[in-house]
């Protein structure tokens, strides 16, 4: 299941604006890679290029290659819908479908993929909710709307929804930034569990979080206003936080940035 990602010389543009300059980096399977860096340096942009989500934005364009176990997701014959089925995504703001029940939210992806068997859907629903550490809290109200949960529960519901389709990769864009510390810890624990099965890339502004959950950390930075963001360095998380090879990284993680 879990697959390896190789980003090769990726440049990303919003219309004429060059947002990200030449990023090259590899994400090993069954590991957590954290993207850190100041606001506007292109973390979300790079993350969204990994499942072709940027194509939702008019004018956004990616040059370069993103290889999933060696296969370029930007190859001419690849359908972005297929890409997104195998590379799941969790967003900054929890976004369960408000008109759907908790159960329907979890199995929404399977339904889209054409699974109709009720028994199978129920099994996956339970397994995914257990996987997202939400089962005990919601098992008695699976038919209630997903919007009725707390923010932290909604975010775990979104994770359950993402893992229900058993993707190869899980992308998370600041999944805890709207949550309280306890829910954050719950999600961090969950990420640590999920990496047994998935390749995970997470964007975070929280250094401790990056240090706690990730195996590898990539630091992005901006050369200046209006300049494209770029990857400064990527290394083992331990090394980045103890002995980074770039001065800019050290300044940023020690809070001496800017």
């Amino acid at each position: 299941m879990a697959k390896r990602i190789d980003i090769k010389d990726v440049n990303i543009y919003y219309g004429k604006f060059h947002a990200v300059d030449s990023v090259t980096l590899s994400v090993p399977p069954r590991s957590v890679t954290a993207f850190i860096g100041p606001s506007g340096c292109g973390k979300s942009t790079v993350l969204r290029s990994l499942n072709r989500m940027h194509e939702v934005t008019p004018g956004a364009r990616v040059e370069g290659q993103v290889l999933l176990d060696g296969e370029d997701i930007y190859a001419a014959n690849v359908d972005p819908v297929e890409v997104r089925r195998t590379i799941g995504m969790v967003f900054q703001r929890p976004n369960p479908f408000p008109t759907m029940s908790i159960r329907d939210n979890v199995v929404a992806g399977l339904r889209l993929a054409g699974v109709k068997n009720r028994k199978r859907l129920d099994e996956v629903c339970e397994r995914s909710l257990r996987g997202a550490n939400l089962w005990e809290e919601v098992k008695d109200r699976l038919d209630k709307p997903g919007g009725g949960l707390s923010g932290g529960q909604q975010q775990r519901l979104c994770i359950a929804r993402a893992i229900a389709v058993q993707p190869d990769v899980l992308l998370m864009d600041e999944p805890c930034s709207a949550l309280d510390p306890i829910s954050t810890l719950a999600i961090e624990d969950l990420i640590t569990e999920l990496k047994q099965d998935y390749t995970i890339v997470i964007v975070t502004h929280n250094m401790q979080q990056a240090a706690r959950v990730s195996d590898q950390t990539a630091f992005f930075n901006l050369a200046g206003v209006g300049q494209p963001g770029r990857l400064v360095e990527v290394d083992d998380t331990e090394k980045i936080f103890s002995n980074p090879s770039q001065k800019a990284t050290e300044d940023y993680i020690s809070g001496r940035f800017g």
Partner: protein, 367 residues
Amino acid sequence: MSDSTLADRSASAQETPRRARVSHGTLEPSRGGAASSPDTPEGPISTANTAQGEPASTPVRRPGDRVFRGAAVGSGAFIVVLIAAIGLFLLLQAVPALRANQVGFLTSGVWNTTDPNGLQFGILYLLWVTVATSVLALALAMPVSLGIALFLTHYAPRRLARPFAYVVDLLAAVPSIIFGLWGIKVLGPTLVPVAEWLSRNLGFVPLFAPGNVSIGGAGNVFTAGVVLAVMILPVITAVSREVFERTPKEHIEGALALGATKWEMVRTTVIPFGKAGYVSASMLGLGRALGETVALYLILSGTNAAPKLSFFDGGATIASKIALGSGEFNNELTAGAYIAAGLVLFALTFAVNALARTIVAGRKGSA
């Protein structure tokens, strides 16, 4: 008149605050003003009297606030009074005629008002034609509007969407009389083969059976419904478009990230989000169709016989019947008969608009 209720009310409600704001430069947020005084609708006047020289007593209330509030309450009350007055006017005028009526107004369909001393008027046939044309129009316009609105918001390339939306809006600006002329002279004759085919092949269904007027003349409910559909299309499209446009980006991206195709995304997020708005937009359109007069006056061929419950019969709607009868208004009693019919239309459009509002309010409550 009927088309005015919803749209005009909201327009005037928006206008007043804007005027108040301009005249005062600043607009303070109200500070508990609403709870503190049992204001009468004559707010603006009393405000003007007490504004100067008032000691800094109980909660501070800025003049701007008071004028704003007074104007809002005043205009709101004015509208309510106006509507009540119209209703009352219709009722008072109708009562003498209803007393003199020799058939049951709500149970009969004949309309014979040539002799003021032997008035016979019932609403049934008019009501049937009114409802049939409007509902047919709605049934035709709803799916088309939905398609156009979804196309404009989620499928059309940006460069195309704007001008196309503009063209649809332009359709709303075409006067009804033009639609009427076009309907009876151009569209009706074009539809005749369709109508003939339908009545030949589906004639066993009462709705498609031949009526009292010839299908070749095109002056039937079918033509009227199609023309009305074109007329209400822009209203439904414009309102639905705005609702669909407001689908939260998070939901759209959430669906796409799960591997939804464009249509699946629209089905799982845009439509559920916009459903209530779309339904109430359709109710607005229905309200407009029910009250449409001139176009139907031109299109429908009159008949005195009891109408068949068929799309291919003629007749008159309540509104077009009133327009047709304008020559008889010099007699109070006869006029009263038409006013009674107007009252039914008034109640009908009012109910439809109220229904639209309830649906919208229900959605806000649940979201």
